[in-house]
C-alpha cells in the first residue's frame, strides 16, 4: 500500500469554504426570515447568499481535481433536507386536506430518492 500525503490546494480550500459558508448562511438566514418575517429581508435579500453559493460552487467545481466520496455525510444531509422540506410542506399544505400527509411523505423522501438516482447513474 502506498500512502500519499494530501496536497494543500489553496484555491480549492477557499472556494470550498466559500461554498459551504454561503450555503449554510443561506439556510440559516432564510430560516430566520421564515421564523421572524422581515428579520433579514427588511435590510437585504437573503438570496444574496444563494448567489454566493452558486458562484463559489461553480468555482469549486472548476478547481476540484480529486473528489472524495463521503456517503454517510450525503445520507445525513439528504435526511436533514427531507425533514426540513417535510416541515415546510406541512405548514404550506394546510388547505390540501387528505392530500397533505402523502404530499409531506413524498417531499420528505425526495432528497433520498434524488441521492439514490444520482449514485446509481454513475
Amino acid at each position: 500500500m502506498i500512502w500519499y500525503q494530501k496536497m494543500f490546494k489553496p484555491l480549492e480550500a477557499i472556494t470550498r469554504t466559500g461554498f459551504l459558508v454561503s450555503l449554510t448562511s443561506y439556510i440559516v438566514f432564510w430560516l430566520a426570515d421564515v421564523v421572524q418575517p422581515g428579520f433579514v429581508s427588511r435590510y437585504f435579500s437573503v438570496h444574496i447568499f444563494l448567489l454566493a453559493t452558486v458562484v463559489f460552487g461553480i468555482l469549486w467545481s472548476m478547481v476540484l481535481e480529486e473528489y472524495e466520496q463521503r456517503p454517510l455525510i450525503h445520507i445525513l444531509l439528504a435526511i436533514t433536507f427531507g425533514v426540513v422540506l417535510a416541515v415546510l410542506t406541512w405548514g404550506l399544505a394546510a388547505d390540501l386536506g387528505v392530500y397533505r400527509v402523502p404530499l409531506v411523505l413524498l417531499t420528505a423522501l425526495t432528497p433520498m430518492i434524488l441521492y439514490a438516482l444520482m449514485r446509481d447513474s454513475r
Binding site: 494543500f8 489553496p10 469554504t17 459558508v21 440559516v28 422581515g38
Partner: protein
C-alpha cells in the same frame, strides 16, 4: 500561502457571522432607540410613500436636487411598519416640509377604527407663528397675549383670566365651566333622532341625578357582535358610571332585527356639579333611535352620524341640528341619502354618495341645520344639539384653521405647540406619538396629514423627509 488561505477562509466565515450580529442588534435594539431616515421617493421597509396618489404629486427633484413630494388634497397618509411594534413605547417623527399658505398643518396617528379617529399633533400653526401678539414659550406650551399681562405661564395659571377671554389649541384650559343660574328639572326631554354607532356628548349636572335612557336597534348589517357600552367621564376624565348591553345573539350580517327596540339605562347618583362627557361606544350596526333624559344641556361632539330609518319608521323623518360651528362637512353613503340640507337661507345639495360636501355658515351665534331625510354623517370642529335650549358650549373656544385669532374675540391663546425649526429651506417639526395611542393592524400604523383648506386655497404642502425614531423606555 497557507496563512493567506486561512486568513481568507476566516474572512469568508466572519462575513455572515458579522451580518448576523448586526441583524440581531437591529432586532433587539439594545440602545432603546431605532432610527429610520427616509427621504421621499426612496424605498424603505419601514415607511411607505404618501398616499393616495390622487392627493399627492409624483416625487420630483427641486432646484437644490432634493427629493420633494407635494400634498394637494386632504387627507394624505402613509403607513409605518415597525419591526417590533410591541417593543417600542414612542414614535417620534421629524417631518421636513414647506408650507406657504395653509394656516394649520397637523399630523395624526390612527387611534381607532369604526369610526376612524386620529390623535393629532401640530406640525405648523401659522396663526400662532405669524401672530403679532406677545408670545411666551414654556415647556411645549405657547401663550399669546393681546396685551402683555402675564410674565410667565406660571403667572397665567396662578391667576387665570375668565374662560371667555381664552382660546385654546390642542390643550385644555382648566377653569371649570359653571352655569350659575342653572336649575335642575324633572321634566324628560327626548332626542328623537337616529344616531348610528359611536357618539360622544357632554351634559351638565347640578344637584340632580344623571339619567339617560337609550332606545336602540341592532340592525345586524355587518359581521360581528354588537355590544353597547356607555361610559360617563367627569371633568378630570375619570370614568364615574357605566351601562352596558350585550349583543342580541346574532353576530351575522343578515340584517335581521330580532328584538326591535332595546333599552339601555344609564344612571349616576350624587355627582358633583360640572360637565360630564358621555361616550356611546358601539358598532355601526347599532342605531340609537331615541334618548330620553331629564338633563337640560346635551351637546354632541364633533361627529354625528344620522342613520337611515329603514326598519324603524318610513319615510325617514330626518332631523334638525343646532350648532355655533361655522364649517360643517356632510357625507352620505347611500343613494337614499341624497338630499338638500338647509341652514337659514343657505342650501347645500348632497348630490351623490361617498362625496364630502362643505357648508360654511355666515351668521353669528346658534344656527339650525335641517337634514330632511337623515342617513348622513356630519363632521365639525365643535358641538351640536337637537334643540336650541339643550345647546351649551362647555369647552373654551378653539383655534382652528377656519378662523383668525382676531375673529375669536379673545385676549389670550393657550396652545400646546412647538414651532418648527428651520433647516435650510425646510421647516422641521418634531412630533411624538405614544404607541399606546396608535391602532395597529398587521404590524402597521397609519399616519395622516391634516391640511384643512388646502383645496380651497389651491395650496400645497411640500414634504422632503420623514425621519422616525422608535423609542423604548
Amino acid at each position: 500561502m497557507i496563512f493567506l488561505t486561512r486568513f481568507i477562509q476566516f474572512f469568508l466565515v466572519a462575513i455572515p457571522l458579522t451580518v448576523m450580529v448586526w441583524l440581531v442588534n437591529l432586532w433587539f435594539v439594545p440602545s432603546g432607540v431605532f432610527v429610520v431616515e427616509h427621504e421621499v421617493g426612496t424605498s424603505s421597509a419601514f415607511i411607505e410613500e404618501l398616499k393616495p396618489e390622487t392627493r399627492v404629486t409624483d416625487v420630483y427633484e427641486n432646484e437644490q436636487d432634493e427629493m420633494v413630494q407635494a400634498i394637494k388634497q386632504d387627507p394624505a397618509f402613509f403607513f409605518l411598519h415597525p419591526h417590533r411594534e410591541e417593543f417600542f413605547d414612542q414614535v417620534v417623527f421629524d417631518v421636513w416640509f414647506q408650507n406657504k399658505a395653509l394656516p394649520i398643518v397637523e399630523l395624526g396617528g390612527l387611534a381607532g377604527v369604526n369610526p376612524e379617529t386620529y390623535t393629532l399633533y401640530p406640525l405648523h400653526n401659522r396663526l400662532i407663528d405669524e401672530s403679532t401678539w406677545n408670545r411666551i414659550d414654556e415647556g411645549g406650551l405657547v401663550l399669546l397675549q393681546r396685551e402683555e399681562t402675564y410674565g410667565s405661564l406660571a403667572d397665567f395659571f396662578a391667576d387665570p383670566p375668565s374662560r371667555d377671554e381664552v382660546a385654546v389649541y390642542r390643550t385644555s384650559f382648566d377653569v371649570p365651566y359653571r352655569i350659575e343660574e342653572y336649575q335642575p328639572t324633572t321634566s324628560i326631554q327626548t332626542i328623537d333622532a337616529s344616531l348610528r354607532g359611536h357618539h360622544e356628548f357632554k351634559t351638565y349636572i347640578k344637584n340632580e341625578t344623571l339619567s339617560f335612557v337609550f332606545n336602540y336597534m341592532d340592525m345586524n348589517r355587518e359581521e360581528g357582535e354588537d355590544v353597547v357600552q356607555v361610559i360617563v367621564f367627569n371633568e378630570q376624565n375619570q370614568p364615574v358610571a357605566e351601562a352596558r348591553a350585550g349583543d342580541d345573539g346574532n353576530a351575522s350580517d343578515d340584517a335581521v332585527v330580532g328584538y326591535g327596540l332595546k333599552e339601555l339605562q344609564l344612571t349616576a347618583y350624587s355627582l358633583p356639579e360640572g360637565v360630564y362627557k358621555v361616550v356611546m361606544n358601539t358598532t355601526r350596526d347599532v342605531f340609537f333611535r331615541t334618548i330620553q333624559t331629564p338633563q337640560q344641556k346635551v351637546v354632541f361632539l364633533n361627529t354625528l352620524f344620522i342613520g337611515d330609518e329603514i326598519g324603524y319608521r318610513e319615510p325617514s323623518q330626518g332631523t334638525t341640528l343646532y350648532t355655533e360651528s361655522k364649517r360643517l362637512r356632510f357625507q352620505t353613503r347611500h343613494a337614499q341619502g341624497i338630499q338638500t340640507i338647509t341652514a337659514g337661507e343657505q342650501k347645500l345639495d348632497i348630490a351623490q354618495p361617498y362625496e364630502w360636501y362643505t357648508l360654511t355658515l355666515t351668521s353669528e351665534g346658534l344656527e339650525s341645520v335641517v337634514l330632511p331625510t337623515g342617513d348622513v354623517e356630519t363632521v365639525t370642529e365643535g358641538t351640536f344639539s337637537f334643540s336650541p335650549s339643550q345647546y351649551f358650549n362647555p369647552d373654551p373656544v378653539s383655534l382652528n384653521a377656519y378662523t383668525t385669532i382676531e375673529q375669536l374675540g379673545v385676549d389670550y391663546v393657550l396652545a400646546q405647540y412647538q414651532s418648527p425649526r428651520q433647516e435650510g429651506d425646510w421647516l422641521v417639526a418634531t412630533v411624538p406619538f405614544d404607541v399606546a395611542d396608535l391602532y395597529e393592524e398587521d404590524q402597521t400604523w397609519k399616519f395622516s396629514f391634516s391640511t384643512p383648506l388646502i383645496e380651497e386655497l389651491g395650496a400645497e404642502l411640500l414634504i422632503h423627509r420623514i425621519d422616525t425614531w422608535f423609542n423604548h423606555y
